[in-house]
């Protein structure tokens, strides 16, 4: 093990952090924007609203992200209409393909996480909101969503961290984020230990920062009074929610 090489490659690979973070943040945001309405549809008791969303989440959660990425990056070009449309300018660019694949994938997981939270909101709270005359949209915005978000925060934090790790797949479609840079560097120097360990250290740093951020957020949000759960069940539920 060459410690100097480890350190210098950490510095070189650090230049891939902005792209990794950009991919993560942009897909997270797009995924969240998609997932919130989808989660309400999925939690709906009306079958024609919930079933199409179920088909979407089932398909995206049941297949590997790598296949989804390749369908978008290599596959969509096979369709003539897409090739001749304006969208082709974006879809032949690996960055936008990654963004699309990661957003759709993340939205599928986030939808199911939020659905669980929405369905767990006590009916008495919703009834109380109806009784004071709130509209259905107001109830969703002011009552259901904040409570659901707070209760699914640990699972959502897991989803964010798995998204950071999932962006490493962008290296398979030639993007030079942390993993892409490290693969390029290894093919030039053939020193896999130092370089992949350096990449691992960078990812570990990112996931630690995010874990810390979400712990702090949980602490802040939980400072408000909330329903007590029996002690033994908390750990269990967190395990069951993990993806």
């Amino acid at each position: 093990m060459d410690i100097t090489l480890l350190l210098t490659s950490t510095v070189t690979l650090a230049s891939g952090i902005p792209l990794t973070l950009l991919l993560t943040a942009a897909s997270l945001l797009a995924g969240l924007v998609l997932a919130v309405p989808l989660a309400f549809m999925r939690a709906s008791s009306r079958k024609w609203l919930s079933l199409p969303v179920l088909a979407y989440t089932y398909g995206f959660r049941g297949t590997p992200l790598l296949v989804q990425l390749f369908i978008i990056y290599y596959g969509l070009g096979q369709i003539g209409i897409i090739r001749s449309s304006v969208l082709w300018v974006l879809l032949r660019d690996p960055f936008w393909c990654c963004l699309l694949a990661f957003s759709l994938n993340s939205a599928a997981y986030t939808t199911e996480i939020f659905r669980g939270g929405i369905q767990a909101v006590a009916t008495g709270l919703v009834e109380a909101a109806q009784a004071v005359g709130m509209s259905p949209l107001q109830i969703k915005r002011r009552i259901i969503f904040p409570i659901a978000f707070r209760s699914v925060l640990p699972s959502y934090a897991n989803e964010v961290i798995s998204l950071v790790k999932a962006t490493s797949l962008a290296s398979t479609v030639t993007l030079l984020e942390i993993t892409g840079l490290s693969r390029k560097l290894v093919s030039e120097t053939f020193a896999p230990y130092e370089i992949f360990i350096a990449a691992g250290v960078l990812y570990l740093g990112l996931t630690f920062l995010l874990t810390g951020f979400f712990h702090a957020l949980e602490g802040r949000l939980n400072a408000a009074p909330r329903a007590k759960t029996p002690l033994g069940r908390v750990a269990l539920q967190q395990v069951a929610h993990e993806q």
Binding site: P64, G75, R183, V186, P192, L236
Partner: protein, 219 residues
Amino acid sequence: MDGFMLQFVNGLKTTVLLALVSGALGMALGLLAAAGRLSRWRAVSVMVGFYTTIIRGVPELIIILLIYFGGTVAISAFFGRYVEVNAFLAGVVSLTVVFGAYTAEIFRGAVLSIPTGQIEAARSLGLHPWQAWLLVILPQMLRIALPALANQWISLVKETSLISIVGLTDIMRVAAIGAGSLRAPLTFYLAASALYLALTSLALVIFNLLERRFAVPGR
């Protein structure tokens, strides 16, 4: 597409075999690690904590690349000439290490949720610590861990596709070869995704049956 039928069948076999072998080994490693994490010896517990935290904080792809290319360098140095590591073997090792870290945390959570009264009762009946683990803790812990374990197995099936990146001829690689040679990437990758969806659905059905069979009363 017809000519690729046989290759897809072989790819499917490779994917299933890889998932089953690394899943079984990974669960064994996870059980050991969970026991180590809960051990009274602090050094063991801290070491296992490092293992699960580090593995779960790093992308699977990095671990696979490290084990595949790192293994090639190590073995080449050992034999004094260039030896390429078998992609299947590298896949089994890396997926076992990853699966072990995740299942260790699942098993640990499940063990902690068993009321201490159960263990005290086992002790007062005169059971040896080993017997208490085997007869009291393990059966209860496994059924509690089942839902999370199901999720993890489904992730494992999907993660096997990453081994195609280091050259294993699994479903994903067959699709990539077909997509390249027939210039029909959409067809081939959709076929691959249908196969993966079938596998994950099968895993889901099996785990639903297991959960129904071993349902914890009152939960």
